[in-house]
Amino acid sequence: MTDPSEKALGRRTFLRIAGALGVVAGCSPKAATQKVIPFLVPPDDIVPGTPLYYRTVCRECPAGCGVTARTREGRAVKLEGNPEDPIGRGALCARGQAGIQALYAPDRFKGPMRRGADGRLAPVGWDEAEDALSKALVAAREKGPGAIRMVTRPEPGSAGAFQEAFMRAVGGAAEDRLVLDPFDPAPLRAAGEALFSRTEIPVYDLTRARSIVSFGADFLETWLSPVEYARQLAEGRGRVGEDRTRLTWVSPRLSLTGYSADGWLRARAGGELAVALGLLRWLADPANGVPGLAPEARALFPRLAALDPAELSRRAGVPWAGIERLGRELALRRPSALLGPGQSSQGPDATQLAAVIMLLNVALGNLWQTVYYGLDPQEDPPSPFAEVESLVADMAAGRVQVLLVHHADPAGTLPAALRAGEALGKVPLVVSFGDRPDPTTSRAHLVLPDHHALEAWGDVTPRLGVVNLCQPAMTPLADTRAAGQVLLEVGAKLPFPAAHFPWPDFYDYTQTRAQMYAMVALGKFPDLMAIQRDALQRGGYWSYQLPARKEMPDLLRGAAERFLSLPPSPPPEGGDLDLVVFPTVLRGDGRGADLPWRREVPDTVSSLSWIPWAELSPATARRLGVATGDRVSVTTSAGRAELQAYVYPGLRDDAVALPLGGPEALAVLPPVRDGGSGAIAFRSARAAVARAGRGKPLPILEGSPYQHGREIVRTVSAAAPALRRPDLSHLMYREPEHPTHRWGMAIDLDRCTGCQACVVACFAENNVPVMGPEAASQGRYMGWIRMERYLGDEPGGELEVNLLPMLCQQCTNAPCEPVCPVYATYHTAEGLNAQVYNRCVGTRYCSNNCPYKVRTFNWRDAQFPKPLQMQLNPDVTVRSKGVMEKCTFCVQRIRYAENQARDEGRPVRDGEIVPACAQTCPAQAIAFGDLHDPGSRVSRLAGEKRGFGALEELNTRPAITYLARVREKEEP
């Protein structure tokens, strides 16, 4: 029997043929005879050479943002956020943008495989594979309970539900199916349980918060729902003065999220709890007379009074004054939101930290203002970590006969100290539904590759009232099958009646569930079919709204008290530095972190790509005799890792920081748990760091991270809200005129978080080639946008991080243009700085003369290993070696929109043209439009007092206006 998606979409198989029709840019121009193969039957919704969009869901992280997949001639070429989806609202993060590369990954499995006697995986037929599995299941069931286990990523939807059904059918208990999320915010759930008996993840609405304090929760990178929270933070930004949202970052390390903060409380690793308790103490203290404090909080003071401020500030590693300052701010600025813990602050006392933070929210009356319970769908929540451990133990003890692994990677995403890899080796039959090699599939005996999300049916419920629907945007590339489908077929082969499911195939199963959702919306539409069609076109069923304040969970009596004492400080063993591990946007928890874009695009904080690194503060580096680029060994009680050092002033002197998402950090994590929730304690170890010799040249982007007094990135404050701009009125020549449009862009640096989503989007839209680590270390990074990150004015000076997303400024007086001998670059009538690849001879003079250095040169021919070339955007030339290239403001999109407008006989509407970077920006920091149209959003922004042009004193007249970051003085 065939895959339902093929049945349902049989038509799409023709699109492959259509591919032959479109002149696909990039293939070498040959005059040799070409074949043109017509359709057998023309698909009615396809016009070759024009895009076709499908709504589906991003599965790169549990946030579950809705996406729109743009397809051309039947192949998905670009992912964009679904503007109707309440979570992402049309935005997508860097990882989401890169998701499409998993679809075309060259190393993707071509079909089912089985490990032969020689220990190698060999292709095998689906029937044979499924037979093998069913036999094994029958045999395993004889061995009694717990012999058949399943590890899966959170699947809040059909897939999960069906897995549960299947496991029941084969006689498994609920805990035999293990939901694994390495970044599971279990402490939040545990704290909710303890305080309000609500085992839930709270949902935040930061739009209303006037002050936000994050205790190491990287809510702009990976924490809970980063795209959503980045947008919410941005809504409170971009204005000077009182009503601008203030963000305070409490952590030993200034992370990317910290870059958006107005204040950084350099708490020592583990000091976050002391800070939180200190805050609570200060707020509850009647002496400080904080108005409108929740009575519950006041009641806690007697207990809190026992805490000695001096001790608190010692444990926190910050002066008491700093805590008081923050307390005062929170007292004044209501409502606020206090977030945490995140991975970097998730220690042995994570649940207590989570609870104290929640108590602070309660005390300040943030509950039901900015912090909500009752929105966690509690669909398929990650299992308690204790279960993970017991599973590993069972596997090691040989009690597990069959292990089904579904898009989880226990061997590659859990601390090495857990020895999950070894344990897997003890299981007779490991079955993986993974579609790409990873440490777990490399240990699997049977690989039954699942579809990529863009090839499959399904649904995801990330939030109560949000159901995002998966639908195939294209026919599967390889001989893969939906995991649910495989289970269904295996079930049919099993001798247990319970496993013979009523649905002919998995597609029908998803549809029956879809009907269930559709019921809700019934009435708005004549019939279910209409609802389902509509939902499929729009991408989901949404009845999402923040709950009204009535169902207030009251603090359990006496629940708070046990969180109000400082735990004994841990013995200083294992080394003289605190080990800080932190997640990054691009590496995530490590799954799919090897995708080309995710490795090529540099991390904003270190500007390093391709490799993991160890951060040390300048003072510590000096003490250890380490310079950026040297190899250092990081040793803890758990293990040792050797990486290259990056000296970073945004880190405490008593800490060393490693990025998560790779084996290095996991190797040094000791098997310590959070007391309250049992979750992994990412923050517990102390590490010894030693120099281990010189390293290879670093694949680093940054030259000097200091502005050297040049005022490149400018800032404003309430005191000085307007910028002084150079007088450029004395012109030598008349400005070239732009008869129709003058395309321009405005980038709000007060909103920009440096999340790199725009960069990856640009790679995807413009066929920007990936050149690899050597190229990166040679300064041959090809990205059309790069995140320039300045740490201050002079080395050793005050740390003031300023981001400057640097892309072609489309100057009116572009220095690059007159120096080109062959007119390969010039100024168009619409004010764009055109680069004509097929005219370029590659003198590189334009790049030399570009003050912004935004032009990238093709030092060699770019490689797009099959089938990655299928992702290439047919509307953009693939550049050959020896050619200069650069940002074009996505001219292909401009021309597309202008073309549409012509067809409909109307002028181009403002906001109709959206370059890839602007489209995906979670913070909506980028605006694009016509500067001639005074009503356009970009014109309004360009006119703001915060506006400035990069290096504008050169009179290049950039078309990009940067809106200065707002830096308020610390409030008294």
Binding site: V23, A25, P48, R895
Partner: protein, 177 residues
Amino acid sequence: MRVLPAAAASALAGALALLAACRAPPPPEQPIRFSHRIHAGDNHIGCTSCHGYAERGPVAGIPSMARCQGCHKFVKEDQENPAITAEIKALLQKLEDGTAVEWVRVHRVPDHVFFTHERHVLGGVRCQECHGEVERMEVMRQVSPLTMGWCLECHRRKQAEKPLERARLTDCWTCHK
């Protein structure tokens, strides 16, 4: 001052274009000897009724097999001309097998040229202006050089009519992206 070199350049372009046209390769051998003369000429079938995408997208499109079948399920032979009957038989065979005819491509522009039929057709450019008197062609062949100078010559002419709103017609990015 402006016209002289422009004239020179375009004259030269024209000359070269002519040259290119002259040394255009002989029309390629097609798997089925399809005759535009019979279809477009004798039977007055409009271009877009087969090349359906010409008004909707960049690619004009080769008629689908289903489209052929539309007529040829009735037109199965030609009494007076057995040769034609043979060709039709060949097509019918293909339709029976449910396989597609692998036509040999006649018109092609390099990959760095982003040409769109839609804009030209909707802009009122007659198909024949570029493809020649197709309805007279027994065998399809390329009549225009499809070189940059040749495109430009027309673009310049059209731009001269409305210089302002047609400024884009001589913008490199109109064809190269």
